[in-house]
């Protein structure tokens, strides 16, 4: 049997700062269940639980296979699984004793769950004009893990032009995705800075003057930054820019965005690795850097500057461009490649990077070393460090780390590390007026929805109002009945669109609630959202979505200039 390793499995206590996130992210199920229990309406809960149970039995394999990381269960897992099994039997036993009743969330309850993490940013206008090629973005997250392991970031570069947006999908806990979401954009921004600006910032630090701000963050209140590690992170970043300053030969060269992105990704991953090896005298920080290094995260980051769009991807999150054809229809252009077993080039790369005799073991059952689904990721030092190094760090590390079966466990067939890299694949795209939006999302979305549907739903949402042409009768033979039918249809379409004020929320509603006909089914949506947190992960993954909307007028104007 295979189980997804949640943070509690690894034995890491939930950090205090992430507690509010958790309680904010999943308010409804807890709030709904406890009063019910108080009211002794247990049968209702069992009704729901049984529903899940059936689903679990008949469709468990495709869902459980999604689990990003799996381990051969060491003996310790048996104890973990036992209470679970007991729970199942318990509910099943009770099921026959009480008639299952249907329990649904009301539409407002569904909305409050869906909207708990939604965030929108509109690029401010100057003199009534928005000169940026980005109009703004909508983002949202729906947790399946508790706490959620996905992260998202968005920021405007203040010392260079451009905007950064990224989604991060963590595994084996949220420590790594959290660290990457806080740090990566600084590494990218620093990589993009001209030599003079770097010097100015360094001098300011040195002489204690006020620093130039580098990033303007656009954060949801739930998107937190770790206060404790802030100093440590700053020191690593500073070392990075000092090296950049030293490397510069003085001749000012144009900074290549692609190179900057690759350097930033690799540098951050190496800093994560180094910080874990060096450790920290502060025991809390020491434990934190180890957790960051031993957990993992994929990253999909977009950098938009005028018409230049770069997407840097590490792992299996995806960037999808929504293109509106001349006839008004929508098509999807993929701007990233998934780094997993479905990608031939990645399989090829892995085989080439390791001796021939490992060709069979390096990817097994579509997983890296038979364990990890993404083939590129931040952190995950278990797939990067030598066995010696891993053992040494774990032994000298805090007890919590030592007691953890997962961290102690060495992947099988581990001969020629590193097996994993954080190096991104960078795609460049020059924006055209027909490129209306970009969807960045973690695999939680892509495994439930086809990219074409994603683009169509967002496209219709964003243009819903403007593109429903007003109807005019003008000379045609139309009866009242025909007109009525047409209008009713248009209204139904409109009302589903306007339930949400956020494109990402709208997409999540579809991803979770779509029935076989491709329309949102409230009953299904309600069932999916009322799953207890222990079960949610069996039916879906964390979903994180950022929808960036482009300003066609500005993009068109750029095009005309050239």
């Amino acid at each position: 049997m295979c189980v997804c390793p949640g943070p509690r499995r690894i034995g890491i206590p939930v950090r205090s700062s992430s507690l509010p996130l958790f309680s904010d992210a999943m308010p409804a199920p807890t709030q709904l269940f406890f009063p019910l229990i108080r009211n002794c309406e247990l049968s209702r809960i069992y009704g729901t639980a049984c529903y899940c149970h059936h689903r679990h039995l008949c469709c468990s394999s495709p869902y459980l296979a999604q689990s990003r990381l799996r381990c051969t269960p060491p003996p310790a897992y048996a104890t973990f699984c036992r209470p679970k099994e007991g729970w199942w039997q318990h509910t099943q036993g009770r099921r026959y004793a009480s008639t299952p009743q249907k329990f649904y969330l009301t539409p407002p309850q569904v909305n409050s769950i869906l909207k708990a993490n939604e965030y929108s940013f509109k690029v401010p206008e100057f003199d009534g004009k928005n000169v940026s090629s980005v109009l703004g973005f909508d983002s949202n997250q729906l947790p399946a893990n508790a706490p959620i392991e996905d992260r998202r970031s968005a920021a405007t570069c203040l010392q260079t032009r451009g905007m950064l947006l990224g989604v991060f999908d963590g595994h084996a806990g949220c420590a790594c995705s959290q660290a990457v979401s806080e740090r990566l954009f600084y590494y990218i921004a620093v990589s993009l800075l001209p030599h003079e600006t770097l010097l100015e910032i360094e001098n300011a630090v040195e002489s204690g003057r006020a620093l130039l701000p580098i990033l303007q963050w656009h954060k949801h209140p739930n998107d937190y930054f770790s206060k404790e590690a802030s100093k440590l992170y700053f020191n690593s970043l500073r070392t990075y820019w000092q090296e950049l300053i030293d490397l510069n030969t003085g001749e000012s060269t144009d900074i290549d965005v692609k190179e900057a992105l690759i350097n930033a990704f690799k540098r951050l991953d190496s800093d994560i690795s180094l910080e874990a090896q060096v450790g920290d005298p502060n025991s809390f920080l020491n434990y934190l850097v180890l957790r960051v290094a031993f957990s993992g995260a994929t990253a999909c980051v977009a950098h938009v500057d005028g018409v230049d769009l770069h997407v840097a991807n590490t792992g299996d999150s995806r960037a999808m461009l929504g293109v509106q054809e001349e006839d008004g229809s929508w098509s999807a252009v993929t701007l990233s490649n998934d780094h997993n077993a479905q990608n031939e080039r990645e399989l090829e790369r892995l085989k080439l990077e390791h001796p021939k005799n490992e060709a069979k073991s390096v990817v097994k059952q579509d997983r890296l070393l038979g364990l990890l689904m993404p083939f590129r990721a931040f952190g995950d030092v278990k797939f990067k460090w030598s066995i010696d190094l891993q053992k040494r760090v774990i032994e000298s590390g805090p007890d919590q780390l030592n007691d953890n079966e997962y961290t102690k466990f060495i992947p099988p067939n581990y001969y020629t590390p590193p097996y994993l890299t954080a190096e991104p694949e960078v795609t460049y795209h020059r924006l055209r007026p027909q490129d209306k939006f970009l969807v960045l999302a973690t695999d939680g979305l892509w495994e439930t929805m086809h990219r074409q549907d994603v683009v169509r739903i967002v496209g219709e949402y964003l243009t819903g109002m403007h593109h429903q042409q007003p109807i005019a009768v003008g000379g045609y033979k139309v009866t009242l009945g025909q007109m009525h039918g047409l209008l009713t249809e248009r209204r139904a379409k409109m009302s589903s669109v306007f339930e949400d004020q956020n494109a990402a929320t709208h997409l999540i509603r579809h991803a979770v609630g779509n029935n076989e006909f491709g329309t949102v089914d409230h009953e299904r949506l309600s069932k999916m959202l009322s799953l207890p947190e222990e079960l949610a992960r069996m039916y879906r993954d964390d979903i994180t979505i950022i929808v960036v909307q482009f300003n066609s007028h500005v993009v068109g104007a750029y095009q005309n200039q050239d």
């Binding site: 009768v473 139309v478 009866t479 009242l480 009945g481 007109m483 009525h484 209008l487 209204r491």
Partner: protein, 702 residues
């Protein structure tokens, strides 16, 4: 409701017919000529400036429909005509297989918000939707007029209700959807009458989509108005002067008409307050009162408390509170009334219109003696209740006037008199630089301290003796209340209950209120609202201008002979008419009715406008009504006429005629027996509680 003699006319045809009839009588019509502005000399219309030259005239009628607002503003001294247009859609279809006959009745489905009528054998169907689209907020815009679009998506709810009502129409073919903006006013009543600022400038506009049905009558009244100076009916509710410049904000109008237009097909319940365009004028105590549970009504833009919801009480949601029966505030107002009767209540009455008239010599007294029917040559400090009458002896206004000094007077009149009263005074006052009229409404916050303990509260706050010996009824004194000096205290309450009105310069309002409330605590003070006031004044037979009194009712018709001093030595306006009436007798008489067999909990309530039957014969209508918590009965006020049984002609009404009748009030088809009274119930004026009736709960704080 089927009206057999109902007819359908085309507005264009009616207009053409009127135009050709007028031309035949020598009227000149200038086509394709636009009015630039109206020329005014010395406050009187002198001509019209058009794009083709000037036309001299004595009268000008602004009938410019949705452009009336802008035309009014084009004057050097603008004329405020508050109205705003909304898009209005109606559908035209091709003829039915069997074309509709011209006598097909017009159908209105108010629940479906639509009307349906014959149009050239097909249908014309439109409606008044819940979500109107206001238009032309920025003013006349040629571009927009030409581009008025059919908006099918907007019409969808109306089309749905048409097909729900008449499903067989599905196969009918559409001709077109017409977008034809209609004009609406802030209170859903049309606007007519003379401008308060320019003589000879008349207005007839804002027909709220009923121009064709009301046009004939409205035209007649306006013609009478221009020829005689007043129309033959009381049309105060349509008078332009019920509005002022304060209702002329475009934003206000835009928001308000969005609420007004759907009302056309909504059930209109009594005591309904508009929800849009609120909180425009407020007293400085607004926030304090609001925090204590005040629910508000609006009059002339001013927020007034209706009643105060206690913290432990929940009222119905707005939509559910709509009723013709016993309303949900019944018990709340009951406890406020009880407190007014037994302890003391404070009501914020700042909205009342307040004028000051001062002069260097005797001019102020002279002009007031000419304008008012009562004798104002009273000692300084006295308050006089008096009517401001027109030539026919009817009430133009009903005020209380306090003589502040030999040469200055303070005049209090109803809230919505602000524009009308000002215009009336200006019209009749001589041009005299030594005579000063000032609107001081905004300068004072008015608190009404009602109840037997008001005197205790006030004497404690002022260290002045307030007993009737020192401060008799209908007196006005400037004194200190708390730290604030110069508070105008008047021994009257507009209800007949004991107590005081405090006119407080606004900067002291909060201080005085706080002091009154904190000192009043031990006397059981609480806030009260206008509904309590209304119940108190109606049970005491206090008539109010605008509700019971109007320009066609005289003091003699409502038992106020004592407020008319025919022999005061001044030929005041309306004196002749009153003299004649005194000689000939009156043709209607304001009477108080106490409903006998009316069940407050189960029966429909009287509100106003209920028919009065005397000995089974129709005798008039009620003008206002309220539940009297003291009498535990409903009390209605209304005019009783004496219609001749044979000819229907009006005959003289005597006290004997009133007293000898058996009366019934008809509420929605059900007649209730009523006792008629020409004078208030005396027992209401004795406040002594019998010793044996005192109980422990009387010791509880209110």
């Amino acid at each position: 409701m089927h009206v057999p003699e109902d007819a359908v006319v085309s507005s264009a045809d009616v207009a053409l017919a009127l135009a050709s009839a007028a031309s035949q009588n020598g009227v000149q019509i200038y086509d394709r000529t636009s009015v630039l502005h109206v020329m005014v000399k010395k406050g009187q219309v002198s001509g019209v400036e058009t794009d083709k030259g000037q036309i001299e005239c004595q009268y000008f009628v602004n009938c410019a429909g949705q452009w009336a607002y802008e035309l009014g503003l084009s004057n050097e001294e603008p004329v405020s005509i508050p109205l705003h247009a909304c898009e209005h859609f109606y559908l035209l279809t091709r003829p039915l297989e069997t074309p509709l006959q011209s006598n097909t009745p017009t159908i209105v489905d108010a629940d479906g918000r639509i009307y349906i009528r014959n149009w050239q054998g097909g249908l014309l169907s439109g409606g008044f939707e819940k979500n109107p689209k206001p238009i032309f907020t920025e003013g006349k815009n040629q571009l927009e007029i030409q581009n008025l679009q059919e908006d099918w998506d907007h019409f969808e709810p109306l089309l749905s209700s048409l097909l729900r009502r008449m499903p067989d129409l599905e196969t009918l073919e559409i001709l077109k959807l017409v977008n034809c903006p209609e004009t609406f006013t802030p209170d859903m009543r049309c606007i007519m009458g003379e401008s308060p600022s320019v003589r000879g400038y008349f207005v007839l506009a804002g027909m709220n989509s009923a121009g064709l049905s009301f046009g004939g009558g409205a035209g007649r009244y306006l013609a009478e108005w221009m020829v005689h100076g007043y129309p033959s009916e009381n049309i105060w509710e349509l008078d332009l002067k019920r509005f002022g410049a304060l209702q002329s904000s475009r934003t206000f109008l835009r928001h308000r008409v969005m609420e007004v237009m759907p009302l056309l097909y909504d059930l209109k319940v009594p005591r309904w307050d508009f929800q849009t365009g609120r909180q425009l004028r407020t007293s400085p105590l607004y926030d304090r009162l609001d925090a204590q549970g005040a629910r508000w009504m609006e009059k002339h833009g001013f927020e007034r408390p209706k009643y105060f919801v206690p913290p432990d009480k929940d009222l119905l949601a707005l939509e559910q509170s709509k009723t013709f029966y016993k309303p949900d505030w019944f018990e709340i107002v009951e406890s406020e009334v009880k407190c007014c009767k037994e302890a003391v209540c404070v009501i914020d009455m700042s909205s009342f219109t307040k004028f000051e008239i001062t002069s260097t010599g005797d001019q102020a007294l002279e002009v007031l003696q000419y304008l008012f029917s009562n004798d104002l040559d009273v000692p300084v400090g006295h308050i006089v209740h008096t009517g401001m009458l027109n030539q026919g002896g009817g009430y133009e206004n009903d005020c209380s006037v306090a003589r502040l000094s030999k040469r200055s007077f303070f005049m209090i009149s109803p809230t919505d008199q602000q524009v009308h009263c000002w215009a009336w005074l200006k019209k009749h006052m001589p041009e005299d630089s030594n005579l000063l009229l000032e609107d001081v409404t905004w300068k004072y916050t008015a608190l009404n301290l009602i109840g037997p303990r008001a005197v205790d509260v006030l004497s404690e706050l002022s260290y002045a003796p307030m007993t009737p010996d020192h401060f008799p009824s209908l007196f006005c004194k400037e004194m200190s209340v708390g730290y604030a000096n110069g508070i105008r205290v008047m021994s009257m309450t507009h209800t007949g209950e004991p107590g005081f009105m405090l006119y407080i310069p606004i900067e002291y309002a909060l201080h005085v209120y706080n002091e009154v409330m904190s000192v009043g605590q031990k006397y059981g003070i609480r806030n009260a609202g206008y509904y309590a006031l209304r119940s108190l004044r109606i049970e005491k037979f206090f008539a109010f201008w605008g509700q019971d009194l109007n320009t066609l009712t005289t003091p003699l018709e409502c038992g106020r002979e004592s407020r008319v001093k025919l022999e005061k030595g001044m030929d005041f306006i309306g004196r002749d008419a009153l003299l004649q009436q005194k000689q000939n007798g009156v043709y209607k008489r304001l009477t108080m009715f106490i409903l006998d067999d009316h069940d407050t909990d189960l029966d429909l309530w009287p509100w106003w406008g209920e028919p009065i039957y005397r000995n089974g014969q129709y005798a008039g209508k009620t003008t206002s009504s309220a539940y009297s918590y003291t009498l535990e009965r409903h009390v209605c006020l209304g005019f009783v006429h004496n219609f001749s049984e044979d000819t229907g002609e009006e005959q003289v009404v005597t006290a004997d005629f009133i007293n000898r009748g058996e009366y019934e009030i008809d509420i929605a088809g059900h007649r209730f027996q009523a006792k008629a009274k020409l004078y208030p119930v005396t027992s209401l004026f004795t406040h002594k509680r019998r010793k044996e009736d005192v109980e422990l709960s009387d010791l509880h704080g209110k």
